[in-house]
Subunit: 249 residues, 2 copies
């Protein structure tokens, strides 16, 4: 089911994620945001505040995927180097831009726009702005690369501004089948056979174990709703034959 995909990657930039101090929630937000557009997230990379690494990662992923989304590193402090790295990755200049300054005047007075704050109005040459209605320092789109803030509520607001710019792909339909007391080992072979039979669908199995017991979720995904429903019916029939009581979500 690889064809008709529009593919995307996320780059999460920040030492604080790698140290474990901060939990990344942005990549999950982006994954859930992209699904209704039929844009499939194929890769997430979390990297540190390291110029070479950021440039190489952007350049590799922007050539590999239709869209790349970066989060983090666009504030005013010395460790905010993402904008400069994007400029270097595209080999273009970067400077303070009037429309970015204009946007920031929604929050700051002219006097408050110190040289440090104006760093946040530095935009790589040729990029278009991404609106930030939370703290008003913009993100920007450079070709297929969208550079956003790392603060989760700012990033979510920026996604809203990006939405109309995205080309939609075929939407994947996904059904979850949940069964308590399902041991994966009991269904692995018939489940694999169903997966072979419906080779246009993708079938996944995700077990859990906790204090209250165990079970698994079986996920059926594909472009064709009728075919997905047929796949789900086959999985349900297999589970019911084992005496389980699956629930479709």
């Amino acid at each position: 089911m690889e064809k008709n995909y529009i593919k995307a990657a996320v780059i999460v930039i920040g030492d604080e994620i790698l140290s474990g101090r901060t939990k990344d929630t942005n990549s999950n937000t982006i994954a859930l945001f992209l699904a209704p557009f039929g844009i499939q997230l194929k890769e997430i990379r979390v990297i540190g505040d390291d110029e070479t690494m950021i440039i190489e990662t952007i350049n590799h992923l922007r050539k590999t995927y239709n869209y790349v989304f970066t989060t983090g590193g666009i504030g005013p402090t010395h460790d905010d180097i993402t904008a400069d790295c994007v400029a270097k990755a595209f080999d273009v200049a970067i400077d303070v831009r009037d429309d970015a300054v204009e946007m920031m005047l929604n929050r700051y007075s002219k006097e408050d726009l110190t040289p440090a704050r104006l760093r946040m109005a530095r935009i790589p040459y040729g990029a278009s702005l991404i609106k930030n209605p939370v703290s008003w320092a913009p993100g920007f789109q450079m070709e297929n690369v969208f550079t956003m803030a790392g603060v989760p509520n700012i990033m979510r607001a920026m996604l809203e501004d990006i939405a109309p710019r995205l080309e939609a792909g075929r939407i994947i339909i996904s059904k979850n089948i949940k069964a308590d007391n399902l041991k994966e080992g009991d269904i692995a072979i018939p489940f694999g056979e169903i997966a072979k039979e419906y080779h246009e669908l993708s079938f996944g199995s995700y077990p859990w174990f906790n204090g209250n017991g165990y079970g698994a979720q079986l996920v059926v995904r594909g472009f064709d709703k009728e075919l997905v429903n047929k796949g789900v019916a086959s999985v349900l029939s297999m589970l019911e034959d084992l005496g389980l009581k699956p629930i479709v979500e």
Copy 2:
């Protein structure tokens, strides 16, 4: 502060993370687990259940970092391909191994060890087992690559078994300085000067914005406790000069 580092990467394997259905918590668990060993997590990659991608990612990262930790894809179903990918990455055979079967007999009777379940006892040639006291299907260590389950409580249990095998590096000391009402733009220049002055330390700034207000955390990190304390004192003095009331955590 790059020298004396022992560096690691995490590979999270699974379509369910990329679709947004499941939130990855394992990479954060590993980051926090590694810190007290002085092992620095430098990169996290989340990739799908795709053979070529898994093999290439393992081979690139195991040559780049001292340790690589993979999570996900070692169950009994057709979409569990990580063990085979590790074998292919190292160009070794893979087969059911007696000691892995022995371990699984802690949970399953001999009759329950169906061909599907025995898939979980397939271990790449030359690997050592990683104990799984939750569901008893082992992970394994192949040179500097540790292959673990994706289910969070199983992965955490596997980390306990890995701990004694890790070579410790120099431990990084990290201090957080939290200040309500701190605008990054107000401190970016003096903060950058402090960062230049203490070039053996690393200084990060992480702002927040929410319904209750805004502020930022400034993080000072380094190997030398006294030097970190000096860096913290400089940051505190800068913040207090601005009339802020920082808290060191």
